[in-house]
Amino acid sequence: MLDPEVLLSQLASGLVLGGLYVLIAIGLSIIFGLLGIVNFAHGVFFTLGAYFALTLYQYFGWPAVILAPIGVGAIGMIAERLLIQRLYDKEPLVSLIVTFALALLIEASVRLIWGGIGQPFSPPPFLSGIFIWGPVLITKYRAAVFGTTVVVLVALWLFLEHTPFGRILRAGSRDPEMVGLLGINLPKVLTWVFGLGCAISGIAGVLAAPLWTITPAMATNAIMPAFVVVAIGGLGSFAGAVIAGLLVGVVIAMTIQFWPEASGAMMYLFMALMLLLRPRGLLGERWERFE
């Protein structure tokens, strides 16, 4: 007889994992929506977030860790100025190959700077231990990860919906030429957007660092779920990515409970099923510039 306490704890665990996937995927989705770039290097910005957090912690303690996503965003902006902006008028295949090469380059640089072996990193002492809320068991750190994810997503939504810059982003994602004609310096906006997307991925890396093994190859575990989440949610859709990320997390947790061998493949099966039912994803719309 299956214990409902285990099921509810699995649900909580799936939501935390899904929250991390949402953070990784949302940056990918924003970058695709505005820049039209399928960024294969997105996962390595997640890796950089984890390594920056580790280094900042080692030198300056826990409070400094908050600077890690800013550093990741800055590197993203440099990458955009030097490389990505040359891809805007190129075939999608070119951007795939170039961003894949960028991913390899950054991974190799991480290996060179921090070494190939995994780096130990644990949650802060004030977040160690577990909560048992009625039937649900969750660690304090995972609860904090979920809370941070919610705060970041709400802040991002407010930024996109209620600020002038957010309005430019949303308009630019639909009709960049018109935005340019209105006198807005679109290239500068694109640089900031790429940096923002990378910084959000960096936040996910910071949050995952005490849970996952920090290695140069840790992006592998992040980038594929991110693509799956974006595909399920609908390319460029904020709400779609949030719903899809949480769904993927829960689907994985429940698969582990009932059919653990399939837990790695289930999200792909789920994606295939979703795309059969809704080819544009859950909340995907028709975007003229990508048709």
Binding site: G118, T139, W212, P216, I256, A265
Partner: protein, 411 residues
């Protein structure tokens, strides 16, 4: 009208003679060409992925073994050519490349069991000596064995036998959490047989996909099953992530964890706060019982790399040493002569005698049973050595299994 300057005009016969002379030059001085060509040994180890942390040390040990000989074999310059093994298929393609393009005379490598099983079949097809340094799947020197393949790592089934008494000391209700590829499946099969023979019960078993990032759902299942002990079969980075999350979910010290074949790099990645468990491993740099030859290797490694030699560095070193000693002994790069050299190779280090068993090409090595220290004060020194297994060296042949039990038929 074009006018050629007289200085540039050459009589046709002289030109022909000159060209022929240039073309024939290599034939006139073959000894020079041969002397300039180093002896090449292929290294086939993963450069990326979760196993890369281990292969970095395997490669370091391999390169150090050649440096110790002044980068020469048979008195000639020698070099290592390292190609990646990202998947079984790509690994065998790179193996072919090493043989056909790089002209290597033997290959060292095999970081994952799934790769090594494909590579040993390719080695037989290409007729190239292949010395496997890391993969532990039983079948490599079992039913899949061939004349060209030699293997260092102790087979899973043997290591499981060595670990079983430690697992049984905690109780007979076991939970298995193993990787869903050759290595993990081998552990699951061996461990289930040992548990059945001991009259125990399996209270749960999960096969985990490679590169799993979040183990919390698996750990919740284990917590609910309340086993006496968890028997693991996770590889490299996955094991590190599991142990990290095992501690994070408050399970460290509550349910014992045991596993075979842990690498030092796996536990270094976990960190002092989260590390725990009892394991088997082949070698430990801080084992007081290490013979002088291995202490010298550990010192050389520390001097060169500025950090202690992980067990994988020793594994790369001893495997490469066996191959290099054999090439020097037979004084040939002919594949079959190297195979015969490896079959006859012996290395006495203190009271330890290393060699490959003739009928299955498995190196017989005593393993260590280690437990994570209660208090870790040195960021590299995580283990207390509990025992060397089998305790009586005379039992090695028996523990590794007889010719009939192994089922290796080389033909």
């Amino acid at each position: 009208m074009d006018v050629l300057k007289p200085a540039l005009v050459l009589p046709r016969r002289k030109l022909l003679l000159g060209a022929t002379g240039l073309a024939a030059a290599p034939l006139a001085m073959p000894h020079i060409a041969r002397a300039a060509d180093p002896i090449r040994i292929g290294v086939l180890l993963a450069k990326t992925g979760s196993i890369a942390a281990q292969t970095e040390y395997l490669a370091n040990g391999t390169f150090l073994a050649l440096e110790e000989r002044g980068n020469t074999l048979m008195g000639q310059p020698a070099e290592l050519v390292w190609l990646d093994e990202p998947s079984p298929q790509a690994a065998t393609q790179n193996m072919q490349k090493l043989v056909e393009e790089n002209k290597v005379c033997a290959i060292l490598g095999g970081s994952l069991s799934s790769n090594a099983l494909a590579e040993e079949a390719k080695a037989a097809e290409l007729k190239i000596p292949f010395v496997c340094d890391n993969a532990a799947a039983t079948d490599i020197t079992g039913k899949n064995c061939n004349r060209y393949t030699f293997r260092l790592n102790t087979p899973v089934v043997v290591q499981s036998r060595m670990l079983a008494p430690y697992a049984l000391s905690y109780g007979k209700r076991w939970y298995h959490i193993t990787a869903s590829f050759a290595f993990g499946q081998d552990i699951l099969k061996s461990s289930r047989e040992l548990l059945k023979a001991a009259g125990g019960t399996e209270v749960g078993a999960d096969e985990v996909p490679l590169n799993t990032a979040d183990f919390s759902s698996f750990i919740l299942k284990i917590r609910a099953a309340k086993p006496d002990v968890v028997v693991g079969g996770l590889a490299a980075g996955d094991l590190s992530t599991f142990l990290k999350q095992w501690n994070e979910l408050g399970m460290k010290g509550k349910i014992p964890f045991v596993e075979i074949a842990i690498g030092d790099t796996d536990i270094w990645s976990v960190g002092a706060e989260a590390a725990n468990g009892t394991f088997t491993k082949m070698w430990y740099y801080n084992n007081p019982a290490n013979p002088p030859e291995e202490k010298a290797f550990a010192a050389d490694y520390l001097k060169k790399h500025g950090k202690p030699a992980a067990d994988k560095a020793w594994m790369g070193w001893i495997t490469a040493k066996s191959l290099f000693d054999s090439i020097d002994a037979v004084k040939s790069t002919d594949a079959m002569k190297i195979v015969e050299g490896l079959e006859a190779w012996k290395f006495q280090a203190g009271s330890t005698a290393y060699s490959y068993r003739r009928f299955d090409h498995q190196m017989l090595v005593r393993n260590l049973a280690v437990s994570v220290k209660d208090k870790i004060t040195d960021k590299w020194d995580f283990f207390d050595v509990k025992a060397t297994l089998p305790e009586n060296p005379a039992d090695l042949q028996k523990v590794f299994g007889s010719e009939e039990e192994i089922g290796c038929k080389m033909g």
